[in-house]
Amino acid sequence: MINYWPLLGVAVVVAGFALRWNPMLVVVTAGLVSGLAAGKSPGELLALLGTTLVSNRTLLLFAVTFPAIGVLERAGLRERASAWILGFARLTLARLLIAYLAARQLLAMVGLIHVAGHPQTVRPLLAPMAEATATRRFGALDPGSRERVRALAAATDNVGLFFGEDVFLAFGAVLLIQGFYDGQGIHLDPLSIGLWALPTAIAAFVIHVVRILIFERRLARTLPEARVVHESPAVPPPPPAEAG
């Protein structure tokens, strides 16, 4: 018979997050509850926690870039990134993010998922560049707008990664899908699985591009300075399409 008691662990996760406990505490408590409910002895449970932690340690791997990024930030990498991007006169926030999204998706499609990421590229390069292009067009950003611009930069990286991953080359997800079917006696070629990710990849690109464009338009509307900058006599009035 199926033992339903381990589901208590899922209930702990849901309740813990609803009550805003510390997530680390919630996660470990859920694991202990689920393990004890499944009838594991404390000794077995500790060993299970220890071995699963070690087997999943690749999730710490992103920290390997920290010393390099830290040294470069100390030398002014983020400041240089925003100064450099302003050299492109026609580059706007939306164009920057759309170009990044396309590049991230294409790289992920051919399996290059570790060349970019939040510590490697978003914090030191994309976020300061996004802020700089937004500030140039709309004037100084209020703290709320600056925060939303940064968050959108991070979101763009996530969307590009998730919906580019695994289309042409078999990595992670595709191998998991193939492995699952293999175990059930259905044998599939990895490429035939990956290509089915293409329609969703295209839909994700289109949807997120539209959202980036809407975001930029809203930013122009909420920042009162944007209009002042455009209408100041020193600057010729831009064509309507650019007024955003």
Binding site: L46, T52, P67, L77, T200
Partner: protein, 323 residues
């Protein structure tokens, strides 16, 4: 031959370094946290080997370490990182002095990773003779990050110790959420081991009307999203939902195309990843890296994309899966 173990020695060393620097600042809890987290990096392989050989105590000590990490995370106060204006001026001056040269080491990280991954496809370069081929992308990233640090220190004439102190600055600015993805994956492993997946799929199977293909598809898609949101990871949700609904009801009963259902079902789950704080490495770590005040800022930026994509995916599946 370079293996992933060597890369973990590097991470372990920088965690130990961060622990020592925090000890010197009398930040005991943070120091203990980094020290425990260094353990799976430095002695992970012996722990697994001992456990396989039947000696359980090292794994049990590590398991106690997991509980300690949770308690420390609960009690640790985040260090408020204040940007002092003098340092900001120094960075501006340095940025002006080095100019675009600063990009060279920064782009060396993706550049060298890319070169090694692509180079491995060319037999004549014999890249796989000195890098373990199965973990090539991750080892390449570790190698690239190390070379970039050396290059960065040489270029900016920083002292080598800055690799340690600056690495610690980034680690401390993230704090305990750095380990949250790892602990979530650990929870996922425990859930699989304790039969949570089987119990969920049994429950779902009892609730939905199985003779309607559309109802099954909706239950599968929404189940992927919900379970992914709870687990923070579509990889954990996939086997559960496939075993519960995808394979028995959609593929076997209603004749769905297995490859299409697998690929698009997984991607449907990613909509759940975009909206859950449980996917800490994607939604929580960047909040800290970008110094955002709203802990859900990234999720707020993502949920409309996630929702629109969920609808798009359900429609795409409905059209493409039952051909």
């Amino acid at each position: 031959m370079l293996t992933l173990t060597h890369v973990f020695y590097l991470i372990g060393a920088s965690l130990v370094g961060a622990a020592v620097l925090n000890l010197r600042d009398r930040r005991w809890l943070q120091a203990a946290f980094w020290a425990i987290l260094a353990a799976p990096c430095l002695v992970g392989d012996p722990i697994l080997a001992a456990n396989k050989a039947g000696t359980q105590w090292p794994a049990q000590v590590m398991g106690a370490g997991v509980i300690a990490l949770a308690l420390l995370a609960w009690r640790t106060r985040a260090r408020k990182v204040v940007d002092d204006p003098e340092q900001a001026r120094a960075r501006e001056a340095s940025a002006a002095r080095f100019g675009n040269l600063l990009f060279l080491p920064a782009l060396a990280i993706p550049g060298i990773t890319l070169a090694l991954v692509l180079g491995a496809r060319i037999d004549a370069l014999r890249v796989t003779a000195w890098i373990e081929p199965r973990q090539l992308p991750l080892i390449s990233l570790g190698l690239a990050a190390t070379l970039a640090m050396v290059l960065g220190i040489a270029l900016t004439r920083a002292r080598p110790v800055h690799g340690l102190t600056e690495g610690r600055r980034l680690l401390d600015s993230i704090g305990w959420p750095l380990a949250l993805p790892l602990l979530l994956a650990t929870l996922g492993g425990v859930f699989v081991e304790t039969g949570v997946g089987k119990a969920i799929s049994a429950l779902v199977g009892e609730v939905i009307p199985t003779d309607s293909a559309v109802a099954c598809l909706l239950a599968f898609g929404l189940g992927m999203v919900a379970f992914t949101a709870i687990m923070g990871n579509a990889f954990a949700a996939f086997p559960v939902m496939m075993a519960g609904i995808g394979l028995p009801l959609l593929v076997k009963l209603h004749g769905a195309h297995p490859a299409a259902l697998g690929a698009m079902g997984m991607l449907t789950g990613y909509s759940g990843t975009l909206v859950t704080p449980m996917a800490a490495n994607f939604n929580v770590v960047p909040v800290l890296l970008l110094e955002l005040r709203d802990p859900h800022a990234v999720i707020r930026a993502q949920w409309p994309t996630a929702l629109a994509l969920l609808v798009a995916n359900l429609i795409l599946m409905g059209v493409l899966v039952f051909r």
